[in-house]
Symmetry: C2
Subunit: 229 residues, 2 copies
DNA sequence: CGACCATTTGATATGGATCAAGCGATGTGG
DNA sequence: CCACATCGCTTGATCCATATCAAATGGTCG
């Protein structure tokens, strides 16, 4: 699989300014505002969607595929801030710049909308404004929960991760992981070896079944929940 | 010093509903809205300001003293979410309930305002609404930064803590800590022993001077910044 | 088939936790 | 005013979970 995007990433990063902006139909829920007003664009696997410190001009919503946001620390380690799956909105910053970078983990289709356009709607439409605020608040809760995870054991982190992914992208108890062991490790501040060993250990106790490295069957949901504690 | 609040905490937790609400003068900055519209109340050292899962009826602003917010995990460990010093607003929740508990670390004076009253103002006053949103966003950034800290070494965590406290409450490079070693440990997911040893170690390298356990002089600011990295 | 990359597994090292003891400041009762 | 208990903190010894270093395995693609 190619590292290169199917078409040059640069052409995606700056949608034409004259991109047509449909007005938001009043009858739709506020949460649909982004795909309704924005443009859906493809991103190839491993292509950059935006970089840390770039001006945060756009807001993004995953239509298909999986996205990671991350920061590279001074010591060279990479910390993944979040995985985003279809339905998730990301790239929402309050400052003028992105505080994380974003990359497509798999080929993706992503709805993109200009921040200024959305803010203009929000200033007129109270429902949209409240939706935007709710997005910030939900993100805050997600980060708080993740913070609590980081002081727990490797088993607890991995168990919680599996449950979370199961909730978001599973079909009958089987989780298809879009991300590599390295991605998972960087999400939890662990090493790939520890992630791998933890999965093996969970398999030995019949809690999960690693049918292939990216396909995991949750055999004992309650045991995972207990670890999650 | 007493553990008991100077007056029963319960009387503080539910300000009288008929508490007079002054209208917000249009000429003041939005950030002053809380002390202008709210009531300042005293809280004794170690008294509870609100508890996890209680309905989030009020919003709080520290006028004097220091506050900790925390969660007690199922395994009994306590995770401190934040320390709040004068000027900080806290207790801001998006759901209907507090997700953390809050306690006064020292005797405090705290401005309290009813959430509904503030929201009413926000719906009329765009500037106040934006201020509320900005508070949520700033909190998100703070938690993200803290999350990044939790994957670093004990030295880095403590160094960052000292720099942060210096910025917030120092007088010429001397930090007066309101909180105990246990509070600091629970803030970083460390043990008191590790916090104590790390401080001793920083003192041995002449980076800081622990003139008394709660009074710390930052001798080599740039060395701390380097650790912070 | 052979190269490459992701993953697993093994051996060893280490940072921070745990268990334990000592120390200094503060407060209390005799 | 002193003897002593208490509490917060420091320091020492040992343990353990995870990191690090190293090698083997397996899957994918040319």
């Amino acid at each position: 699989m190619q590292i290169q995007p199917a078409v040059p990433a640069a052409s995606f990063r700056k949608p034409a300014a004259q991109m047509p902006m449909r007005p938001l139909p009043r009858s739709r829920p506020a949460g649909d505002v982004i795909e309704l007003m924005g443009t859906v664009m493809p991103f190839a696997r491993n292509s950059e969607i935006y970089g840390e410190n770039e001006p945060a001009e756009y807001l993004y919503k995953v239509m298909s595929g999986t996205v990671r946001t991350y920061k590279v620390l001074v010591d060279g380690r990479r910390q993944i801030g979040a995985f985003h799956v279809p339905g998730d909105v990301f790239g929402f910053e309050t400052g003028q710049e992105h505080t994380f970078s974003a990359e497509a983990i798999t080929d993706c289709r992503i709805a993109v909308i200009k921040r200024t356009a959305l803010m203009a709607v929000a200033s007129r439409d109270n429902e949209v404004a409240r939706y935007m605020w709710a997005l910030t608040a939900r993100e805050l809760q997600r980060v708080q929960a993740h913070m609590l995870l980081l002081i727990k054991s490797a088993q607890e982190r991995v168990a919680t991760f599996l449950l979370e992914m199961a909730e978001r992208v599973s079909a009958q108890g089987t989780v298809e992981l879009a991300m590599s062991r390295q991605d998972i490790a960087d999400y939890f501040g662990l090493t790939i070896e520890t992630v791998s060993r933890t999965l093996s250990q969970l398999e030995k106790t019949a809690t999960i079944e690693v049918s292939s490295s990216r396909r995991i069957v949750l055999r004992d949901h309650s045991a995972l929940t207990r670890l999650n504690s």
